[in-house]
């Protein structure tokens, strides 16, 4: 068991300590996102340069004249030192930014993530449209996999050695070993193209009615959840078996508590801690799974935008998507850490 990630300073967690904790963690989140961003920024804007490629050429195309390229370089600030460029980019997000080359000024209103090299649309517009799709995909899949995985794992642990346990664990093992894009292709071939039960839209906007979202996302949810549910079923079963062997469970039974209460209140609660730990670690993996699922089902989310942007070397879009993804992971991690305190009474937010 990985244990709780807290130093666990034993203090009575009044509202003030919780607030202080939250503020400290939020600062950590910002630092974390900046580190990820700096790494991505370096890779995108410096690696091509060191390798002898010219970003201005990436922007304007190979046929542009030298004078035009020089103008672009000044306008995008490509000749500035790395940290200056990075600072300009970060500052542009809350403040907006002016790209200037002498009299030629383009104002990019906040939140400014720059302009796509390919479509010349503000990156923020792309992100704004893609984010809800990925968020809906990830959130729905999360709920589905946690519920299905934990339920299967608990039932398997309680009915250890039965045919139910065996078949659930075999299915889980198969699920762990299947790549999500393969199951996605099978599901799509079967339910969309052969049986015609569901119809998947190529575009999804917040104006679309809820049932369109639901119908488009139902298969991706199941496919993305299946892989992870399998993993959580195995984990839950193992920790439940361990917990059920503990003395305090025997005590709870001995003092006459009903089996349902013993399982729910005593065993499941303490089995949830390692599950939560793993869940926190899996958030990055979830993001990867979402990218793959979106590519398989052609869903217009962040992942698909990123893959498209990468194939056309559209650096600002890639940077924007990475920023969104790392911010989402860091924030979700914070939520997971807060949940520890809810589930495990021994954890104090110090």
């Amino acid at each position: 068991m990985a244990g709780t990630p807290h130093k666990g300073v034993p203090a009575t967690a009044g509202p003030r300590t919780v607030l202080a904790y939250l503020i400290r963690r939020l600062i950590a989140v910002v630092i974390m996102v900046l580190v990820v961003l700096l790494a991505t920024f370096t890779v995108f804007f410096m690696l091509p340069k060191w390798a002898g490629q010219d970003i201005a050429v990436l922007f304007a195309g190979k046929s542009s004249g030298a004078e035009q390229l020089a103008g672009i370089r000044i306008k995008l600030g490509l000749d500035d030192p790395l940290l200056v460029q990075f600072w300009d980019f970060v500052k542009g997000i809350p403040m907006g930014r002016d790209y200037a080359n002498g009299a030629d000024v383009t104002h990019c209103p906040a939140p400014c993530f720059g302009y796509s090299f390919r479509t010349e649309a503000p990156v923020w517009e792309t992100l704004k449209d893609a984010l809800p799709v990925t968020a809906a995909l990830a959130a729905g899949a999360c709920v589905l996999w946690l519920v299905a995985g934990v339920a299967t794992g608990v039932l398997s642990a309680l009915k250890r050695g039965t045919i139910w346990d065996r078949s659930a664990m075999i299915t889980a093992l198969a699920g762990v070993s299947l790549p999500v894009f393969f199951t996605g292709m099978i599901a799509m071939g079967l339910f969309v193209h052969t049986l015609g039960w569901v119809h998947i839209e190529d575009t999804l906007t917040t104006e679309d009615p809820i049932n369109v979202w639901f119908e488009t996302l139902i298969l991706p949810w199941i496919v993305l959840a299946f892989l992870n549910a399998a993993m959580y079923a195995r984990l839950t079963r193992a920790t439940m078996l361990e917990v059920l062997g503990e003395d305090y469970i025997r005590t709870a039974r001995a003092k006459g508590l009903g089996e349902a209460v013993v399982i729910r209140r005593h065993a499941l609660r303490s089995a949830m801690t390692p599950i939560l730990t793993v869940f926190g670690l899996d958030l990055g993996v979830l993001m990867g799974g979402a990218v793959l699922t979106e590519s398989t089902f052609n869903l217009p989310g962040l992942g698909l935008e990123a893959v498209k942007a990468i194939s056309t070397k559209d650096l600002p879009v890639i940077l924007g998507v990475t920023l969104c993804a790392s911010l989402a992971i860091a924030l979700a991690n914070l939520v997971v850490d807060l949940l520890y305190a809810v589930i495990d009474p021994r954890v104090r937010l110090g």
């Binding site: 990985a2 995108f44 193992a238 078996l241 990055g284 990867g288 990218v291 990123a306 790392s326």
Partner: protein, 334 residues
Amino acid sequence: MTAPLHDTPADADPTADVAPAVDAGVKKVEGRSLKQIAWNRLKRDKVALAGGITVIVLVLVAVFAPLIVSLLGHPPNEFHQEELEDLTNLPKGAFGGMSWDFLFGVEPNKGRDIFSRIVYGARISLLVAFLAAVVAVVLGTFFGIIAGYFGGWVDALISRVMDVLLSFPQLLFVISLVSVLPDDLLGLTGSGVRIAVLILVIGFFGWPYVGRIVRGQTLSLREREYVEAARSLGGGQRHILFRELLPNLVAPITVYATLMIPTNILTEAALSFLGAGVRPPTASWGGMLRDALATYEHDPMFMVFPGLAIFVTVLAFNLFGDGLRDALDPKGTR
């Protein structure tokens, strides 16, 4: 599965000294009796054995790919237009053109032998997954043991770095990294660059998982009496780290390395699926699925064999790794 461990001490200085000690540990752990217990448990575990045998067969297939293909298939990059329908470019015959000549059928559009490409794809998959696990184990063991043993600011620094890496949007970062890398790097060209990059990148993002486990184990091991004894006998830090602590970490590291390989296979397949893997025409399972996604409405058979290849390989490693973990678990409860 033992090779990563041979490489572990190479990261430290006293390579020659440490190698025998680790070698003894590799065979299955601390002390003779437990080694035998573990082996006996593994022998009784039919499922794990089946997984282990499948793994060996797969490795043999990868190693002898040219021989197998020359006996049973056609060269992997050879086009067979005569096996395709004239108008649609889909394989002639049922089940994607499966026949004695083309065991797994042919690809739509290009008519390449799927069987040969699967066999050659095993090379990429296993090579990348295995070497990436080596990279992860070497880095993870080195930093994990140092963080756990020294504690203090060293531990704080290494732990923070691991936290950052663990919450990195890895897949996004890797596909974008691969897309900006030049085609020639460090004297390698074409697929060689991509393979090297895949190994390094997958390994690099994998080491924190190993590092966390090694750090945790080291934290508890360093308080043991034998470490105290070694210290009071005047053993240097290097001696304690790599001759006292490391042999006791071999069991968890072995298990973790084994269970890491299937994850790496899936990652490699995912990257190839997204177009960030080896360059075509080099065959890889994920790349085949990428091609299959484009045509699967018309030729659903194309996706079956690459998908199954990934599934069987990953499953075999998982089964074997699980068995190994159970066999090496001193409590033996799970």
